[in-house]
């Protein structure tokens, strides 16, 4: 029984990773950059909900809505101020800027909210499900997280495949110059991608901090790294890949924590990244990119 409960816990954590990984993978696919600040947007989302609920005392739904709106705006602002001026620059320059943005968000949060750990009260008011005479308990957070993740995934796939904006995203990711010639507004498309990624990060922050309630200025960075690992694992640039990679990674992490060592769980995740890069650098569902000279 304990194995099944770990497995479910792993899928739940993995669902959160895959929602975060979607943000990485879409931005990477379209802007060809690694948005280091993505993990920190989760942290900002967490602080927004925390502030709105415990200091102003508003309804959780209002708090979540506000958090999604603010994170979306934050994502668009980051792109506009820090990344857009560097569209033609080398990838190293963009990468260092992204690190700068991530570091800026972390330290702003540190200055505003202080270094002490805030405890986040779960806002998912779903009762836990007891199965098999109470030997298997599935928490309310898990019951919400997994279906929500599947819903997001389906909606996003339909959006990218069917809508006009989604198709222009595909076009930009395929060939930026050709997309411009087809009359696609590349800047707008990239901004929309950042907006979607950041709003997903806000959703992920609700789910993650409800299940793991300690909130500090750096609590977004490690999930961010792991979500990136998940994106690479599944094949960077691929939406189903992010989902698959996220869930596999979550399961491996929880099982590793339970059966191998809790202190080394992060090291195990890191080892998986190394193995994936060694064996299949394009990930499970990734496409091999042809290089044009």
């Amino acid at each position: 029984m304990s194995f099944i409960s770990y497995l479910i816990k792993g899928i739940s954590l993995g669902s959160v990773y895959s929602i975060i990984a979607l943000g990485y993978t879409m931005v990477y696919g379209i802007a060809k950059m690694l948005n280091f600040a993505h993990g920190d947007v989760i942290m900002v989302g967490g602080y927004v909900i925390f502030t709105v609920m415990s200091m102003i005392g508003l309804n959780p739904f209002v708090a979540v809505l506000l958090s999604i709106i603010l994170c979306t705006l934050l994502g668009i602002t980051i792109e506009r101020v820090a990344y857009k001026p560097l569209r033609s620059a080398s990838s190293l320059a963009v990468l260092i800027t992204a690190i700068g943005v991530s570091y800026l968000l972390q330290n702003l949060a540190l200055l505003i909210f202080g270094a002490d750990t805030k405890s986040f009260t779960s806002i998912i008011a779903v009762p836990a499900l007891k199965l098999a005479d109470g030997r298997l308990t599935i928490s309310g957070e898990t019951l919400v997280t997994i279906p929500l993740c599947i819903l997001i995934m389906v909606l996003l796939t339909v959006f990218v495949k069917r809508s006009k904006t989604g198709r222009s995203m595909q076009a930009v990711s395929e060939d930026k110059a050709a997309a411009v010639l087809m009359g696609i507004n590349v800047n707008k498309t990239i901004a929309i991608t950042f907006a979607i990624g950041s709003s997903l990060a806000a959703v992920a922050s609700v789910l993650m901090f409800s299940a793991y309630p300690s909130l500090t200025s750096t609590s977004g960075s490690m999930p961010g790294i792991k979500a990136f690992v998940a994106a690479v694992f599944g094949g960077i640039g691929s939406i189903p890949g992010a989902m698959l990679g996220g869930i596999l990674l979550g399961v491996i992490e929880i099982l590793g924590r339970a059966y191998i060592s809790s202190q080394l769980a992060d090291a195990i995740v890191f080892l998986i990244l190394i193995i994936v890069l060694l064996v299949k650098p394009t990930g499970i569902l990734g496409k091999k990119i042809q290089e044009k000279v």
């Binding site: 690694l34 190293l92 320059a93 260092i96 800027t97 690190i99 570091y103 890191f270």
Partner: protein, 360 residues
């Protein structure tokens, strides 16, 4: 001065830089001897050297190789623990001598290089920004691993454990060398300003010679155009690995200097964490990516400045973040590049002197 002009340019630059370091070193020693230097300043002399070594070694990866490493503090950590481990376990023998310290330095460099090579072999053959994320993860994880690592020494040899110090099963006269989160206590204080300054000069020479060597030109060719470099037969992965491993080894040396400058070595987020790696990156970016001399200057200024501007302490990291973003945009944004061309300092000076001549 005719002779001076016949020396090739890079040698001239080396002589100037090393000359400046030697002069500063001599002035510092004179000030210490005369008692004119505050304790605060004296305590900073060794950190200045190892920060400079860290900065120039990271510049080798970022500036010369063109890859981003965010785990430089992790390599420093590996070097620090490897060196301190050796000194502590041979404390009653060779470890307390000068030769022992040299071996510790060498071991620290080798250990860090080994980890650098391990990461490099996997990551550097790929395209894309994988090195940044892998080194970032490495830097975070190496701390966790060291914090659960217990190593003890007794008559029967070394004992390892990843649980606690009890699990080592040491004999009565055995000593715990690495005590998990409590780290290594009682490392001999071998690092002196002289050794640190000498190593800084050595590191500078190694890197500047590498840049102007055949290998260095190959590495820079890879940075500037990977495909072109590959098509003239340059071994991409090999040269990338060379630069990255060398950079890691130097960070390891800096780590040994660090660990032999303090009495208790503990791996905390403060000394070997992400913040440290970013701080070194700020040294490199502020000093100029690819500019070795600039890295040393930036490391010195940014280490001294916060000590004198204590009121800025809370905002230090925030300022670092802004420095990274602003310098990158200023350096790479097309509009900024155009603006800099029209408003370069040289032009302004020329126009000023031109006017002066007319007036005269």
């Amino acid at each position: 001065m005719k002779k001076w002009n016949t020396i090739n340019k890079s040698t001239r630059n080396n002589i100037i830089t090393i000359g400046v370091i030697v002069v500063i070193y001599a002035v510092c020693q004179l000030m210490i001897a005369a008692g004119a230097m505050s304790n605060l300043m004296q305590g900073l002399l060794v950190p200045l050297c190892y920060y400079s070594i860290l900065a120039i070694s990271l510049n080798l990866t970022v500036g010369i190789l063109g890859e981003l490493s965010l785990g430089h503090a992790g390599f420093m950590c590996v070097g620090a623990f490897a060196g301190a481990f050796f000194s502590k376990s041979t404390q009653n023998g060779i470890g307390s001598s000068f030769v022992g310290f040299l071996i510790a330095l060498l071991l620290g460099a080798i250990a860090a290089a080994l980890f650098g090579a391990l990461i490099g072999v996997v990551v550097l053959r790929l395209r894309g920004d994988y090195l940044a994320i892998v080194t970032l993860a490495f830097g975070e994880i190496i701390k966790n691993v060291i914090n659960v690592l217990y190593i003890g020494l007794d008559g029967k040899g070394f004992h390892f454990s990843m649980k606690d110090s009890e699990a080592l099963n040491l004999e009565e006269n055995g000593t715990i060398i690495i005590n998990g989160a409590k780290g290594i206590t009682g490392t001999p204080k071998h690092t002196t300003f002289t050794i640190a300054a000498l190593l800084l000069i050595a590191a500078y020479l190694i890197i500047s010679n590498l840049i102007h060597s055949r290998s260095g030109r190959a590495i820079q060719a890879i940075r500037d155009n990977r495909i072109a470099a590959e098509s003239v037969g340059i071994d991409i992965t090999g040269f990338k690995l060379l630069a990255f491993t060398l950079s890691a080894a130097m960070a390891g040396v800096a780590g040994v200097l660090y660990s032999h400058n303090i009495s208790t070595l503990v791996a905390t987020p403060k000394n070997f964490g992400y913040n440290m790696s970013i701080m070194i990156l700020v040294f490199v970016v502020l000093g100029g990516i690819g500019n070795i001399r600039g890295s040393i200057i930036a490391a010195v200024i940014l280490t001294l400045l916060p000590e004198y501007l204590r009121f800025l302490q809370d905002y230090r990291m925030l300022i670092y973040a802004i420095v990274l973003i602003v310098i990158m945009i200023f350096n790479w944004n097309p509009t900024c590049i155009a603006w800099r061309k029209n408003h370069s300092l040289r032009d302004i000076l020329h126009s000023l002197t031109g006017k002066n001549k007319k007036e005269a």
